[in-house]
């Protein structure tokens, strides 16, 4: 046969291929890819933080007034929930590396439950705002509030809403990690999937670390 497969030209010698039992596992590259994705997320939220700071600079009084509508206690409570969940997901990688599958699963499930608690809090928090007639485009907001306050609540709903979407995405990622750990596809020798799930979750935590003082701690 004179057929030439172009792939053959770029493939390593046969003995190397035969000895290569590891299937496309490159933890460094996986982690680098995750970080590159995290950079795009940081700059996405960075843009929103930039908009926030410019509008706050232009409307300092209105931002102070509007921030009184937010409950510092719920904000602080949610901050602590997220911080604890960050710790549990970080610990899950250590547990996996120590070949403690049971503890790894317990820690991932704990993180998932904490994420759920965060979302339930957010639901009630937003619910109270909606009851008070404060939601994007509401008549109460448009008629009775100043331009600066409308901007504050617009940013509040967009930024915490986008953050909540990231929480939901993080929960889906945790379910995937949980299944892979359970099936031992992700194990002590190949922990990078769980590590990357953790990195994503810490990103969600990192964004909240800045959202909390900027929305809840204006006095």
């Amino acid at each position: 046969m004179v057929l030439i497969n172009i792939n053959q030209l770029t493939q390593p010698p046969m003995e190397q291929v035969l000895n290569h039992t590891d299937q496309h596992y490159d933890p460094e590259a996986s982690k680098l890819g995750m970080w590159l994705f995290i950079f795009t997320e940081l700059l996405l939220f960075g843009g929103l933080f930039l908009i926030y700071s410019v509008y706050r600079y232009l409307n300092p009084e209105a931002f102070h007034l509007a921030a009184h509508e937010l409950d510092t206690f719920i904000g602080a409570f949610n901050t602590i929930i997220l911080l604890i969940s960050s710790m549990t997901i970080a610990m899950s990688t250590s547990a996996l590396q120590q070949k403690n599958k049971k503890l790894t699963i317990i820690l991932i499930v704990t993180t998932f439950i904490l994420a759920l608690v965060f979302l339930v809090n957010k639901y009630f928090e937003w619910g109270i705002k909606f009851e008070h007639g404060i939601f994007p485009g509401s008549e109460h907001l448009i008629n009775d509030f100043s331009q600066g306050e409308i901007l504050f609540f617009g940013l509040y709903f967009v930024m915490t809403g986008l953050h909540a979407l990231h929480i939901i995405a993080g929960m889906i990622i945790m379910i995937i990690a949980l299944v892979k750990v359970q099936k031992e596809i992700t194990n002590a020798d190949r922990p990078v999937l769980l590590e990357n799930a953790g990195l994503y979750w810490h990103l969600v935590d990192l964004i909240w670390i800045f959202l909390f003082p900027l929305f809840y701690l204006i006095h």
Partner: protein, 94 residues
């Protein structure tokens, strides 16, 4: 086992970091209740930066990973700071 894999972080390290993070959260709430005027936002942001540094260094393993990740992350944060500075230079002097 511990010697083979130097990247296993002990649980207690994570617990200490969590304690520090919660302490900083409480301190940032405290400082904004002190009525420091324009400095209260500065205080809250300093605590937020300290917290993010702890999360990046320990939870996100930058301390234990290859140095080039640290350099890249610093680069992204410097880029963001540069964008904020340039934007505010525009707003201050227009």
């Amino acid at each position: 086992m511990e010697n083979e894999k130097p990247h296993i972080v002990p649980y207690k390290v994570y617990f200490y970091i969590l304690t520090a993070l919660i302490t900083f959260t409480m301190m940032s709430i405290g400082i904004t209740h002190l009525n420091l005027g324009p400095y209260s936002v500065l205080g809250a942001m300093i605590f937020a930066i300290l917290k993010s540094f702890l999360v990046l260094t320990f939870f996100m393993h930058l301390k234990f990973d290859q140095p080039f990740l640290r350099i890249m992350v610093s680069g992204v944060f410097l880029l963001f700071i540069a964008i904020v500075l340039l934007t505010f230079l525009d707003y201050f002097y227009r």
